[in-house]
C-alpha cells in the first residue's frame, strides 16, 4: 500500500517529468541543453543567498518559494552572464557556459559552508538542492509541481507553431515577422521554470537530464514534432513515477538519481529499438 507521503512525491515527480518532457523537446531542438545545465548550477548561490536572507529575517528556513525565487534570480543572472561573455567575442558560448556554470556553483558551495557555520538551522536541507531529495516534498509542493506541468504543457501547445518555426529555421521565421528575441526568451523562461522547479526534487546536478532524456528518447521514436512532444511528456511522467517509487522503496536512494536512471533506461531502450528498425 502506498502511503500518503509517497503518493505526494510520486505525483509531484510525475508532474515535473511531464513539464520537463514538454519543454525539453524545444530545449533540445534549439540546442539549449547546456544553457539549461548552466542555469541549474547557477541557481545554487541564489538559493543559498535566499536562505541567508531568510535566516537574517527569521523566516521559516524550509519554505520553498523564497529559496526557489532566489534560485531563479541567480539562474537568470547566470544566463545573462553567459550571453554577456559570449557577446564579447573573446570566448565561444561553450566556454562561457563552462566559466559561468563552475564559478556560480563554486560561489554557492562556499555560501553553503558559510551558512553551515551559523548557529540556527538555516542550512537545513539546503544541500539537497545539489542532488535532490524528493522525499521531503510536501503536499503544497506537489500541487505547485502540478501547476507548473499544466503551465508548461499549455505554453508549449499555445506557442507550438512559433517554437517549431524558431527551432527549425530561425532566420526564415524572423523574415516572416516572428519576433525571434521574444520567442527565444519565452523558451528560456520555460526552461528556467522547469529547472528551478526541479531543483528540490532532482537537484541541480541532474536537472538537465530531466530536460534531455525524455526529449532525446522521444526524438528517436518519432518523425514529427507533435508525436515527439506527446512521447516526451509520457516518458518524463513515467520516469517521474517509477523513479519516485524506486527511491521510496530504497531508503537513501536520491529521487533525482532514480528518476534519471529510469529515464536513461527508456533512452537506451529507444536506442536499441531504433537500431533494429
Amino acid at each position: 500500500m502506498i502511503s500518503h507521503n509517497t503518493l505526494v512525491v510520486v505525483l509531484g515527480c510525475a508532474a515535473l517529468g511531464v513539464a520537463s518532457g514538454a519543454v525539453g523537446c524545444f530545449a533540445l531542438l534549439r540546442g539549449r541543453a547546456l544553457l539549461a545545465d548552466a542555469m541549474g548550477h547557477a541557481a545554487l548561490p541564489g538559493v543559498v543567498g535566499a536562505a541567508l536572507l531568510g535566516a537574517w529575517w527569521g523566516t521559516d528556513p524550509r519554505a520553498l518559494p523564497p529559496l526557489l525565487l532566489g534560485g531563479a534570480v541567480a539562474g537568470t543572472l547566470g544566463l545573462w552572464a553567459v550571453h554577456a561573455l559570449a557577446a564579447t567575442g573573446r570566448i565561444r558560448q561553450d566556454a562561457a557556459i563552462g566559466v559561468v556554470l563552475a564559478s556560480f556553483y563554486a560561489l554557492g558551495v562556499v555560501g553553503l559552508s558559510v551558512i553551515q557555520a551559523m548557529p540556527a538551522g538555516a542550512q537545513a536541507g539546503l544541500s539537497h538542492f545539489i542532488l535532490g531529495q524528493a522525499a521531503t516534498m510536501r503536499t503544497q509542493d506537489a500541487w505547485a509541481a502540478g501547476g507548473l506541468a499544466l503551465v508548461s504543457v499549455a505554453a508549449t501547445v499555445a506557442l507550438f507553431p512559433r517554437l517549431r518555426a524558431l527551432c527549425f529555421d530561425a532566420e526564415f521565421a524572423a523574415l516572416q515577422g516572428l519576433n525571434i528575441r521574444r520567442t527565444d526568451a519565452a523558451l528560456m523562461g520555460l526552461i528556467l521554470l522547469v529547472c528551478i522547479a526541479g531543483l528540490p526534487a532532482v537537484g541541480l546536478v541532474l536537472v538537465v537530464a530531466l530536460l534531455v532524456l525524455p526529449a532525446a528518447t522521444a526524438r528517436m521514436l518519432n518523425h514529427r514534432l507533435p508525436g515527439m512532444l506527446a512521447t516526451s511528456c509520457a516518458v518524463g511522467g513515467t520516469a517521474g513515477v517509477l523513479g519516485a517509487l524506486i527511491s521510496a522503496g530504497h531508503q537513501g536512494w536520491p529521487t533525482g538519481a532514480a528518476v534519471v536512471l529510469v529515464g536513461m533506461a527508456f533512452f537506451v531502450a529507444a536506442l536499441l529499438v531504433r537500431r533494429e528498425a
Binding site: L29, G89, V157, A158, L159, F160, P161, R162, R164, A165, C167, F168, D169, E171, F172, A173, A174, L175, Q176, G177, L178, R219, N222, H223, R224, L225, G227, M228
Partner: protein, 241 residues
C-alpha cells in the same frame, strides 16, 4: 515599382569588410548574383533581409521590409538547417504559412491546401508525409523551394537554389523559376555555375566585396568582366559561354 533597391549597403565582420558600399536596383525577371567564394553573395541577401547587421538600406517595392514582408520570399541555403528535425515535407512547407496560423492548434485547412499545392508544384506531392531526414538532397532542395513558393511572394531571394542537386532536379527547379517569372514574379538567385548563367538568367550582378558590374547577362557576363570579378586565375570552363 523596383522590387528591391539597395543603397550604400556595407557589412563588416569585425574589422573586415564583407561588402562595401553596394548600391543596386534589382530588375524584374530572373537575376543571378555571381562572384567567387567569400564575395559576399549570401551576405548581400541576408543584409538586405535584415538578418545580419549592416549599414545602408534596402527598400522593397518602394517601402520598408516590415511593410512589404508578405511580398518577399526567401530560400536559404539547404545546409543552413538541421534536416534531422522531426518534421514531414508538408510540415516544412506549412511553416511558410505560420504568420497565418492561430496561436494554438492546427493550420486552417485553406493554409494546409496552399502548402500541399506548393509541394505539388515542385513534384513532391507524393512525399508530403515523408520525414525530411529521409529525403534525398535534391528532394530537400525542392521542399525548400516549395516553402518559398508557399510564401506567395512577388520577390524571391534565393541562396543557391541549384547547389549540389542532380541534373533532373536542376531542370525541375529551373522550370519552376521560369514559370514564376512568367507569372510576373522577380527572382534573385545566388549562382555558382558560370557555364549555365546565360541559359537561365536574364540579368546578373557581378559581385566581389563590391559591385563589379550589373545589367543584362548580354551586357555584363563577358570574359573581361568575369576576370574582373574572379581574378585572372579562373579556368576557362566558365568562359566558354
Amino acid at each position: 515599382m523596383t522590387p528591391l533597391s539597395i543603397r550604400h549597403l556595407s557589412v563588416f565582420y569585425g574589422e573586415r569588410p564583407a561588402l562595401e558600399d553596394v548600391s543596386w536596383e534589382v530588375p524584374a525577371g530572373l537575376t543571378a548574383i555571381i562572384g567567387p567564394n567569400g564575395a559576399g553573395k549570401s551576405t548581400l541577401l541576408k543584409a538586405a533581409l535584415g538578418l545580419i547587421g549592416h549599414q545602408g538600406e534596402a527598400r522593397f517595392f518602394g517601402t520598408t521590409l516590415d511593410a512589404a514582408r508578405a511580398r518577399v520570399g526567401y530560400l536559404p541555403q539547404r545546409a543552413s538547417v538541421d534536416w534531422d528535425f522531426p518534421a514531414s515535407a508538408l510540415d516544412v512547407v506549412s511553416m511558410a504559412r505560420t504568420p497565418r496560423t492561430r496561436w494554438w492548434g492546427r493550420l486552417p485547412r485553406r493554409e494546409r491546401d496552399a502548402a500541399r499545392a506548393a509541394l505539388a508544384e515542385v513534384g513532391l506531392d507524393a512525399l508530403a508525409d515523408r520525414p525530411i531526414g529521409q529525403l534525398s538532397g535534391g528532394q530537400q532542395q525542392r521542399v525548400f523551394l516549395a516553402r518559398c513558393l508557399a510564401q506567395e511572394a512577388d520577390l524571391l531571394l534565393m541562396d543557391e537554389p541549384l547547389a549540389a542537386v542532380d541534373a533532373a532536379t536542376e531542370r525541375e527547379i529551373i522550370r519552376v523559376l521560369q514559370k514564376l517569372v512568367q507569372a510576373g514574379k522577380s527572382i534573385v538567385a545566388v549562382h555558382h555555375d558560370l557555364a549555365s548563367v546565360p541559359h537561365i538568367f536574364q540579368h546578373a550582378l557581378m559581385l566581389n566585396g563590391r559591385v563589379i558590374a550589373a545589367g543584362t547577362v548580354a551586357e555584363v557576363f563577358t570574359p573581361a568582366m568575369i576576370v574582373d570579378t574572379y581574378g585572372p586565375g579562373l579556368s576557362d570552363d566558365g568562359l566558354a559561354a
